[in-house]
Every structure is written in C-alpha cells, then in structure tokens.
C-alpha cells in the first residue's frame, strides 16, 4: 500500500486566501482557532489520510450514442433509472448501458434537480418547468417564465425551488413555481438548497443563507477563485464549479462556511455532483473523481469523455456521464488513484522552424507522474524524462532535428494508468498568429433572414475580418 501524503496536494492558496502554520488555506484576515475552517470538526487529520494503491480510479464503459440529443444535465432516480435532460427533451435511460427506456419532448433543459418524485428543469432563457414522476414517467405539471435573462442553475428540496438568475439574483419559488422571494446578487450563478439551508454563488463569492425566517437572511460569505456556475451540496460538503478556474470545496458548519481546498483540472468545470465522500466534476474535456473525506480534497483521477462531459449523474456508486450526444456509464475503482496526464491535443510548429518548443505538462492526479520521451528522431528532447509531483508542472524542451514539415507524433511513456502510451502530436501550424487563416467555407444565414447560404472567408479579402465564435449556452 502506498500512503498518500496530503503534503503532496498542497497547491498555492487561491486569491484572498492565505496559508497558515497548519499548512491549510484560510480566508485572509479570518479568525484562527475555533473559528477556523477545521476548528469545529475535532478530527485527527492523520485519520483522514486515505490509503490508496496505484491504479485507474475511473473507467468509462461502453455507452450509447443518441443522435439528435444534446444532454446537459441529469440525475439517477431512486428507482435506479437515469433521467437525462437537454436539447431533445427528457430521456429515461439505463445508467449501466446508456440505452433509452422512454423519452418525451420539452423545451431545451439547461439544468435540472430532483425533489422526491418531482423534477424541476430550467431552460437557459425561457421557462422553469415542473415535472411529476409519480406515474413512472415525467409528466409536465407546471411551467412558468419568470425572468427575461438567463438561468444559471436550479436546486429543489422540500417543496422549495431556488433558481440562479444572474443579474436578477436568486429566485426562491414554491412548488407551484410562484415567486416567494428574491435574493439580490451581482451575479447569481450556482444555487443549492437543503431544508432551510441555501447556498448561492454571487459572482466570485459563495453565500450561505438561512431560509427559515420570513425572508432569506445571509449567514456567511467567502471568496471563490472565480465566478460560480454550479454548486453540489449534501448538507455538509459543498463544491462550487467555476469553469476554467476549476472547483473550490467548502463545508457548512452550522451557520458558517469553512474552506477546504481547491481542485484544478483541464477543461472547464461545468457541473459538480456529490455521492457520499466522492465528488465528480464534468469539465468538458475530462471527468474528475475527487475524494472529499479528508482534510483537503484530493483528485483521485480523470477519465476522458467520448464527446464532451456536461454532467455526471451519480447515486450510490452508479455513475453515468451526460456526454453531449452520448450517455456513458463510468466505473469507480475504489481504493486506487493515479497520476493524471492530460497532454495537449496538438502542439503547433511553424513550417521550416528549428526553434525549441516549450511543452508544459501537469500532473493533475494524486501520485507522482513519471514521463519519458523515448524516441528522439524528429525532435530532441530535454530532459528525456522527468517526474512530477501531484499538482506540479514541468517543461520538456523539444527541438526539431530538421526544419519542421507536416505532422509527427512523439511517443510519451507514462505511469498514468490510462495514458501509459500517450503521444505528443506535433502539427504544422494552421491557425496561429502570423499564419494564413485556414480555409473557411461554412453555411450560414444573415438574421433576420433564415435562408441559408454559403460564406467563404476568402471573399472578404481587402477588409479586416473580426470572427467571434459563440454558443448559445
């Protein structure tokens, strides 16, 4: 057995936090001692250190593709079925295979939450919809459009519903979707609700609220490393997804919030899900499994989705990734963790270049990551091998042995259980500054007209062109 050292997970404290003598991050200026984040737990930190063996903690199993669907959120119901929602409506599926059991149409769902046998679904810009599951399949029972802006998140418990509505604040609704109260916020993003305890991200702060009085009252507020987009809350653990800033982990201790630590990952943390002490993060490029049972959160491992990880549905160890057009079951292997490498998709090299490239690689996992570049026929590498501690980054300097042309893969040997033979893909530059823009011929339309025509970037020669890529979410 390898004893996982918590010291290995120590990363720089986020902005507005400071590292104190015990090695933990605390909000700057916050009182120490019994008011500190761990002061009220009374547990011996040694007892929290997990014993883990080297292995692959998270494996994607064979999933099912669903053409025409874009899954954005989902949950596993008490009866074990998966309820997946997104563009296409709702789908009840077998979480073990991703196969559909039943479907129904609905305005595109952005976020959803369960409350017993009721489902509350928020579209991005339109209605909030309540569906009743008591008959076995979702039946629409109420629907209301409450805002003119965007919905960021929704949470429901005990007949109350909380909606993160950006600049309009957090909206507290009853089970018929009537507005009970508005919690003002600069930017209400993620929301969570259990009993009379509510959490709202207000831009880059996490706010703890008491709903027990006539109007929601603020109990505590702590800084986040970025703007919150989603909250997972089980009454104790709190995880906040902040897009490219990763995930911040807290705990609720009575009427106070305690900061527990930061999780960094590739991609963009979009959705967080708790299942016991396990936290799953859907971060588009990767699915992250982290363990929250210790003093600081620990990343156990990553898995790559087939398309794009939008959410993980989890209940009692059953896991399915809402994988854009796929439903992909996952298997958690308990008691193991790995180093985690996430090599860049491509490394771009200018044609004819012999200049040295700096390729930075990060170990996102829980064990030392060993890296070796055995073949040096197209590039010479310095160093030819390295070991990265958890959370550490290192740079390989790659120098083309001849003026660069075309594409080559450089083999990368690692001890990451699911990336043992990885590769660095070196490609001749296409779309980089100073290079000609790649050919761009696309279908499109000029609103308000909806008629489709072909557009060719080359037709705009002689004028600067400003190209803005966007999505509707």
């Amino acid at each position: 057995m390898v004893l996982l050292s918590l010291a290995c997970t120590a990363a720089p404290c986020p902005a507005a936090f400071e590292r104190r003598e015990d090695g933990n991050c605390y909000p700057q200026g916050s009182p120490s001692g019994e008011d500190s984040p761990r002061g009220e737990t009374g547990l011996d930190s040694e007892a929290w250190v997990p014993e883990l063996e080297l292995g692959d903690p998270l494996e994607a199993l064979t999933g099912t593709a669903h053409d025409g669907w874009e899954f954005l959120d989902g949950a596993i119901l008490e009866d074990g079925r998966l309820l997946a929602m997104g563009q296409g409506g709702w789908m009840l599926a077998d979480p073990a295979t991703g196969e559909s059991l039943a479907t129904g149409g609905l305005e595109r769902v952005y976020r959803m939450d369960l409350d017993g046998d009721r489902v509350y679904a928020a579209s991005r810009t339109g209605a909030i919809t309540k569906l009743d599951l008591s008959s076995g399949t979702p039946q629409k029972s109420a629907s209301k459009t409450l805002t003119e802006g965007y919905h960021e998140d929704i949470s429901a418990d005990g007949g109350l519903v909380l909606v993160g509505a950006q600049e309009e604040g957090a909206l507290l609704l009853d089970d018929q979707l009537n507005l009970l109260a508005k919690v003002p916020a600069t930017f209400a993003g993620g929301v969570a609700l259990i009993g009379e305890v509510a959490l709202v991200t207000d831009d880059d702060e996490l706010v703890l609220l008491d709903l027990g009085s006539a109007s929601p009252s603020e109990l505590d507020r702590l800084p986040l490393r970025g703007r919150g987009r989603d909250i997972a809350f089980d009454g104790h653990h709190v995880a906040v997804a902040m897009g490219s800033e990763g995930v911040d982990v807290f705990e609720v201790q009575g009427d106070r919030l305690g900061y527990r630590g930061a999780l960094d990952m590739p991609g963009s943390a979009f959705n967080v899900t708790l299942d016991g002490d396990m936290l799953y993060v859907a971060a588009w490029e990767v699915i992250v499994a982290a363990w929250l049972g210790g003093e600081e959160p620990v990343v156990l491992g990553h898995e790559q989705p087939i398309q794009s990880a939008w959410a993980v549905a989890a209940r009692d160890g059953t896991l399915t990734v809402l994988d854009w057009g796929w439903l992909t079951p996952l298997k958690l292997n308990e008691g193991v963790a790995g180093p985690e490498l996430h090599p860049p998709n491509q490394i771009w090299v200018s044609p004819g270049s012999t200049e040295t490239l700096a390729v930075e690689l990060t170990n996102y996992g829980a064990f030392d990551l060993e890296l070796e570049l055995p073949d040096q026929d197209v590039v010479s590498a310095s160093p030819s091998s390295m070991t990265l501690a958890p959370g550490a980054s290192g740079v390989f300097s790659l120098t083309p042995v001849a003026p660069w042309k075309g594409s080559s893969d450089v083999r990368l040997l690692t001890n990451d259980p699911d990336e043992q033979s990885s590769r660095l893909s070196l490609r001749e530059t296409e779309g980089s500054i100073g290079a000609a823009h790649p050919e761009m011929v696309l279908e499109g339309f000029v609103p308000p007209s909806a008629s489709t025509e072909r557009f060719d970037l080359a037709d705009y020669r002689g004028r600067p062109v400003f190209i803005a890529y966007f999505t509707t979410w």
Partner: protein
C-alpha cells in the same frame, strides 16, 4: 464591432457545434441583424487555432484576420480594447 466600424470591418459570428435552429433563435433573441451567422457544425474550425488545447476558457474565441487573410489576433476572452486596438492598427496600415 459592426456598429463601430460599419463597412470597414467584416464581422462574422460563428456558432460552434449547435443546430441551425438554435443558432437562429439565439441570433433573433439577441437582436442580431445584418451580421452573418455561420455554422461550424462539428467545431472543426473552432478547434483549428493553435491556442486550442488544455486549460483554456472555451468561449468566447475571437480571431482577427487582416486584409490579406493572415491571422493577427486570437483571444479566448472578450477584450474590447484589445480588439479595437488591433482593428485600428490594421485600418491605419
């Protein structure tokens, strides 16, 4: 940008990996008028820029191409001042 520069600069909006219907609904709701909305249905162009890769904020992605078709600006943020500075530079050349 289209309002600031008029005909001097061509603005192209490119929707990534969504349906034409969704892109159209979004454009109408956002009061976009007279600006081409292109569909990068499989994200191929979106992923072709060399700054694509790990650790980025996926959107927005903004690119400026000069009068000769050469890329002069790529950013994964909406930095109005930087975009205007670059367009002003290209127009003054």
């Amino acid at each position: 940008m289209a309002e600031v520069y008029g005909e001097e600069v061509q603005v192209l909006l490119v929707n990534v990996e969504e349906s034409e219907e969704m892109a159209y609904t979004f454009a109408i709701e956002a009061d976009i008028s007279g600006i081409p909305v292109l569909l990068d249905e499989h994200g191929g162009l979106y992923r072709s820029y060399s700054s694509a890769g790990q650790g980025y904020a996926p959107f927005p992605l903004q690119v400026i191409v000069d009068q000769g078709g050469v890329i002069t600006y790529i950013a994964r943020q909406h930095d109005v001042a930087a975009v205007r500075a670059e367009l002003d530079r290209l127009l003054s050349e």
